[in-house]
Subunit: 894 residues, 2 copies
């Protein structure tokens, strides 16, 4: 016969490392027991036993039950109670607990060991007959349902309440409950054909069996499928002696965080209810006290809690959220777990714990999600204003915090109207029962989205997160009347055009507007500390995309080390310049006088533009991208001109104006493109209209020269966009050299200047070895690279199919937000490898929107980029994400 | 002292393999000498000597001159003449000749050895004083210029002619020429400060020196740069004893092809002029006789020429084009080279030579350029009509045959007008002095292009070839008056709107229209034979792109083995269907009754469409691509609707119509896209509007089912367009499976059907391993793949910058015509490797336009594709190109 395996572990026999074998709950109880914390005695049956149970076609493995009985006896000894003893009955809970948390998915039976005999002991011990019968009827109900698969308890209970005219459960007295318990037993006998099992050991055997079975309940299987948890792990079963917090005023129960989970402050934070069980706290019959009150009420218990909290933190090295029960002035720990906390608290706790010597800086860095940093920097409602509204009007409703951020606006109930009003400059919040692809055009224009149906993966939630807009989903309190254009909520009514405010970070909905504020980065002390540590460990540089001096200054404040993308096209759109730009474009083909004059004007404007940004960024590199968009983007709209000329033609009253507008129409028409994204733009412009690039090059070098004369340290890097063949950058390089000779001879000194290229076209990545011959740096333009790699224009795709693809699981995420490693990433890898083959010292960065996305930053680190460049507000996020990447902290959203 | 190297080879010492050492000309003369052909005795100084000359800073290598003198002495012995001998003077030519032919780029000196002494011998020998002084003054002129760098001969010559009132050179008599020779010598003395070198050996030394020098003349260097010929090869120098065809009526000279270079017929083809030198033939003073006349005039010479022709062909195994001279009834061979021939002749010669046992089938295949096959199949002018016009009106002019094909149309002198007239349905020929990028819009619409300036690499030539349109460039006889809108030519005048015809294959310009005809493939016996041989050796399958049964039938006639791309969108555009298609599209969002009715109608139409093509292609695979273009392509133009509604609005007289049109305008507007190429099309449509794809799938399977009932063998392959993520094809596959179950249960039998995908998006190639999980075949859609890989829309790019890029050498060729191996090709390689990793039996083809381009086909062979699919007319080209690829014959245009 094979050696008998150990199926059962008493709590002192296990520890936290044994999650695989004892499940999360079992291992946690063992760990606390061994840490000297007062855990009610108990034991855990292993996950191995569960697996063996299934392997044996649902039979307990040999010796398991016998080992459980031995362990049970040890508990009897330890507690001084007897299982089935009518005087001092031992009651136990039988709890499920797998390696991975599956909250609510498997079964648990409480108060096991009750029967008519042991009930006497309970009544005697508690002196509360009503309580005793209440837990008795609950036990029968729970056990009946879970272990015996009997349904129909609720119907009996409701019928009884009706009969005696009880509205609430609490209206029932001990006799009522006794009668109900008896009826429950009758139901079990009718349904199973057998009497309710009174033998506690029989009860225990059936309960263990039921917990094993619950591993393969339909909802447990779905949950595992959804969360990618393997199906062959099995669950452990923990049998714990019951303790009661409702044995009088020297008993009680509570939940405590070792620090304030909202602020991170170091204090005991939680609630306590005397003479109560956990269920009473949840039921909300009595208002729990702040745990701080225990200091006066039961100072010994409070002291013990404080010591336990310290011990837990020292032991687990993180904030803990624990449940305890006091039974007749004796404290029992029932559970402890890492406490959930707000972003603000997470940050303070991490920094404090480093200062307290509990954790290392690296651990602190790893504990903050980069996404939390961006949350800290989102515009948020002014706290005072929000509190005032809350105090005056209360919360209108609360829904699922589906996408963070805060927004106020007029409630609007259909997407067309939302689009129309928003286009007219109004702030709107789109309110819909739920959203569909047909709503997307409205969502694009709304400041925020509010729905009454759907969860965190609903269309509204996915699209809103995709758009970076606040969204509250599944706010079920709302009764929306689309035809009437209003919703009712908690007795109030909100009509179209009424202003509401939504806080997507908390899920709160308010009536009226709330001013929102940008947080002051320079005052976020903990954040500055943490980012300082992040800077020590990261290898990736963090640069920013900024077109104006004010943006560059902002980026510097956030800690950027250079400008990785300064787009020059925005400078062309400014009001006083646009007419000049028109002259330049429309005159280019015949190189008219107007054209040359326009170029001269523009070179002056651009020189000033560049001086501004170089001055702010003195001592740091500034990558200036030469003009990129197709020229027709600067011209009047073809459609508007078409309508205007048609009107003039039909009216026939202004032939001069008609002729002039028709000429313009023809010019604009001749420059239109079927697919501007794939047309005459980027360096193609610079090659076909070389004067424009020469003008820009002249302005850049002149700006540098003038600042150098002032003694300012400039580091210009000129970036050529949309290269697909090495010869393109070669041509521009040659243009530059000509201009440089000219400008340098004017100044009489050399102006240092690097030339590089965007890698934003697949071919540039595939031929990066050739491109690197002429490029001193690469910058991956992952917006365009994603567009061409997917053959998918962001403008056209996002509303029309891309977000729906994500929703339907066709794409794992929006590739314009999170870098597609398999496709786009492959091209980046190729580009890096080939580029460095030609030029080992090639400096390589990324300046697409992905430069601010943590998962994408991790990828950039892994493939050996030198820096990421992102929008100024993402710089702190990127600093942390780069540190995570360097430390090998896995990002969740990849 | 080092062993003396051999710098000089007598003709019997060399052979054809020694091109590197003796240059092309030298090696050819040696080869002929050794083949027993009557070559005038001579020797060659090696290219090594030339290299050494430069290495020694322009000094002859030691012993070279001495070796040359020894060789010269051997020639004296062999000819019985003496170098400098006044009685029987030996004259020689000194000719350049490098490894690679550089026609006209280097120098040659004729009649070397003349001086006042040897002149006497010449006069005595020829009895023609005028001739003697003519070659004397020519020698002084040529030698003076080349060896002594003296300029000014032409001026003296012209002045003299003026003085004596001579119009033509032939008006000068012997005395005149004698005087000129004397004046030439005076010039040399004045310019060089020395007397003209009368010593023949001195002359020879200087001439050899001059030929060495000509290797590094400016024009030679440019030519080598342009043709990628290395600069360190050096030239050989051949010294050949002069023979004279003008020593009486038993002398003469001629040029002969061993076969007719126009038709390929086996006969001596060429011209002969008695008592003449080569120069006289060129000067056109007398009309040469057909070489056939020699049969009567000098039967022995004719017999010898025939024997030599046979010997040359047996020796060189190809048609030869040789020069000969008869000096006093003795035949000398001066040069032989592979004869240039027309496509038609090339084909006949190759096939005949196989039948004659001269060459193998493989060699025959290798001798025909795939491009020549397409030339044979181009529409061409009806030969009879062309001859008639030629005989009646003569040729208008002849220019450079810059791009093949034939076209008639109205002469138009500016691109705007060309575009306008062509858009109105007229055929136009754009006539310009030369073209620039500003003309491209006109070139796009013209049937052909005619310019009077520029060569084979001019803008007009490059663009026209790019567009596949006939073009004659550099037709210098044209005097174009752009303002007057006409051109003068050979005394005639062609005004705007006069019809002209151009034959881009021959360079001929005609007045008036000439009907053109399509060649009858089934009657092209030699072509059918050659393609049959090609089929035996090629590995690649050749399929065709065809949307209609008639195209499929044509492709079958051309020898296709399957349909690789049947586009279904064309079927939607047919007149009776378009209104139904409108209903389907406009009704899709609300799934109206109209919408369902439209789908039902369309499924019937499509079933018939597919039955037609499957029936024609019975027994062969047919790849049907599901609907690809964005739906708005089927709707009315937004701009037209905008104008129409604006007009209706301003007029205000038909509010009902206005409302109806405005509604349509809104619908069309809601479907517009910024970049349709990157928008909602391809499988994205099939996923977002799944009914449309289901309708198509239903029609395909029903068509197959009905034909199978008739006993017809169908091989449907369903192709999903625009896949960028494996999940997309997975979704469509699932749709198909549903439809298949439905249709098959109707028929009661299984319908065989493969599902595959276009690989036309970079990401699909990069993730081909995942895509292949769901695809049984791949077809590279290289049009779209080129667009996305280059980030460049063909519609927008070709006219606006792409062709100019090619012209400026920024791109080596138009990547939409010749597959870009480095970029797009890399993605294809990746796609093939990854795809076969998942599914080793994966069938892979290409269906972009490149499937008919020889260089691209070679690439497809090299990377292991299974087949290429091209337009029906390119099938013969592809069959030959595939054979070339299999045989490793390098294509010229890569």
């Amino acid at each position: 016969m094979a050696e008998t395996r150990k199926w059962v572990y008493l709590f002192p026999e296990g520890n936290a490392e044994m999650r695989d074998l004892l499940g999360g709950k079992g291992a946690g109880l063992c760990e606390m027991t061994n840490a000297g914390l007062p855990v009610p005695p108990g034991f855990t049956i292993t996950t191995e036993a569960c697996r063996e149970y299934y392997a044996r076609d649902k039979d307990f493995p040999p010796a398991m039950w016998e080992q459980a009985l031995v362990a049970l006896h040890r508990i009897e000894t330890e507690t001084g109670k007897g299982f089935g003893d009518p005087q001092k009955p031992l009651l136990v809970s039988v709890r499920s607990g797998a390696k991975f948390s599956m909250p609510g998915m498997m079964d648990t039976v409480l108060n096991l060991g009750l029967n008519d005999e042991t009930m006497r002991g309970i009544i005697k011990l508690t002196g509360d007959e009503r309580f005793a019968y209440d837990i008795y009827r609950r036990f029968i109900q729970m056990f009946g349902k879970i272990a015996l698969n009997v349904e129909g308890f609720d119907e009996i209970f409701d019928r009884f309440k009706q009969k005696v005219g009880a509205k609430l459960d609490t209206d029932l007295d001990a006799d009522n409950l006794k009668e109900i318990a008896s009826e429950f037993k009758g139901l079990v006998e009718r349904e199973t054909g057998k009497a309710f099992p009174d033998d506690p050991k029989k009860q225990l055997m059936l309960a263990i069996n039921a917990v094993f079975e619950s591993w393969n309940s339909r909802r447990a299987i779905s949950y595992r499928n959804f969360n990618n948890i393997p199906h062959d792990l099995g669950t452990a079963v923990s049998v714990v002696s019951m303790v009661f917090g409702n044995m009088g005023n020297d008993s009680g129960t509570g939940v405590v965080f070792t620090r304030d989970p909202a602020t991170g402050e170091r204090l005991l934070y939680g609630e306590y209810l005397a003479n109560a069980q956990g269920e009473d706290v949840v039921a909300g019959i009595r208002t729990p006290h702040n745990v701080i009150d225990l200091k006066d009420e039961m100072p010994d218990i409070y002291g013990e809690l404080s010591r336990i909290a310290d011990k837990l933190e020292t032991h687990y090295r993180d904030i803990q959220d624990f449940e305890f029960t006091v039974e007749r002035r004796k404290l029992y720990m029932l559970q402890t777990r890492t406490g959930k906390r707000t972003a603000k608290a997470a940050l303070k706790i991490a920094v404090d714990m480093v200062n307290e010597g509990l954790i290392t800086k690296e651990e602190a860095i790893g504990r903050i999600e980069p996404g939390q940093v961006s949350q800290l920097l989102l515009p948020r409602f002014d706290e005072k204003a929000k509190e005032e509204i809350k105090n005056r009007d209360g919360l209108l409703a609360k829904g699922l915090n589906a996408s963070p951020g805060a927004a106020s606006g007029k409630a609007v109930f259909d997407p067309d109207r939302a689009e129309e009003m928003a286009s007219g400059g109004e702030s709107v919040i789109l309110v819909r029962p739920e959203t569909t692809p047909d709503d997307v055009h409205g969502m694009l224009k709304a400041k925020g989205i509010l729905t009454c149906r759907g969860g965190a993966t609903s269309h509204a939630a996915v699209v809103a997160r995709g758009l970076g807009k606040p969204c509250i989903a599944g706010c079920e309190a709302l009764q929306i009347d689309l035809e009437g254009r209003f919703f009712r909520v908690n007795g109030g009514i909100i009509r179209e055009n009424d202003v509401i405010s939504i806080d997507g970070t908390t899920g709160e909905v308010f009536r009226g507007g709330i001013p929102s504020v940008d947080p002051d980065f320079s005052k976020e002390a903990e954040l500055l500390t943490l980012l300082g540590w992040a800077d020590e460990v990261r290898r990736l540089g963090v640069w920013a995309n900024a077109d104006y001096p004010r943006d560059a200054a902002k980026a510097l404040e956030f800690g950027c080390e250079g400008i990785g993308l300064c787009r020059t096209e925005h400078m062309f759109f400014e009001e006083e310049r646009l007419p000049i730009v028109h002259k330049m474009i429309l005159g280019a083909s015949e190189a008219s006088d107007d054209y040359h004059k326009a170029l001269e004007d523009l070179v002056r404007f651009q020189t000033e533009d560049f001086k501004g940004i170089f001055r702010v960024m003195a001592g740091k590199p500034v990558v200036i991208r030469l003009l990129d968009p197709p020229l027709h983007e600067f011209l009047p709209s073809y459609e508007e001109l078409l309508v205007e000329t048609t009107e003039l033609r039909i009216k026939g009253d202004d032939p001069t104006k008609l002729a002039e507008r028709e000429k313009l129409l023809r010019s604009v028409d001749s420059m239109r493109e079927m697919n501007p994204m794939l047309g005459l733009r980027g360096c193609r412009l610079g090659i076909m209209f070389e004067d424009i690039y020469k003008m820009q090059l002249h302005a850049i070098l002149t700006a540098c020269g003038e600042l150098m004369r002032e003694g300012i340290d400039v580091h210009p890097e000129i970036m050529v966009p949309l290269v697909s063949h090495a010869n393109e950058i070669k041509v521009i390089r040659d243009e530059l050299e000509g201009v440089a000779r000219e400008v340098e001879s004017e100044f009489g000194f050399t102006i240092p200047c690097k030339v590089g290229t965007m890698i934003e076209i697949p071919r540039a990545a595939l031929t990066a070895d050739e491109v690197a011959t002429y490029a001193e740096f690469f910058s991956f333009g992952t917006n365009d690279l994603t567009q061409t790699t997917f053959g998918c224009s962001r403008d056209d795709a996002e509303g029309k199919f891309l977000l729906q693809y994500v929703e339907r699981g066709i794409l794992p995420q929006n590739p314009f937000q999170v870098l597609d490693r398999r496709g786009v990433g492959e091209l980046i890898k190729t580009g890096v490898e080939l580029g460095r083959k030609t030029r080992p010292e090639l400096k390589i960065g990324i300046c697409g929107e992905h430069g601010g996305d943590p998962s994408s930053i991790e990828f950039c680190h892994q493939v050996g980029l030198d820096y990421v460049s992102c929008s100024p507000f993402r710089v702190p996020v990127a600093r942390l994400a780069a540190a995570h990447a360097a430390l090998g902290v896995a990002e969740r959203d990849k």
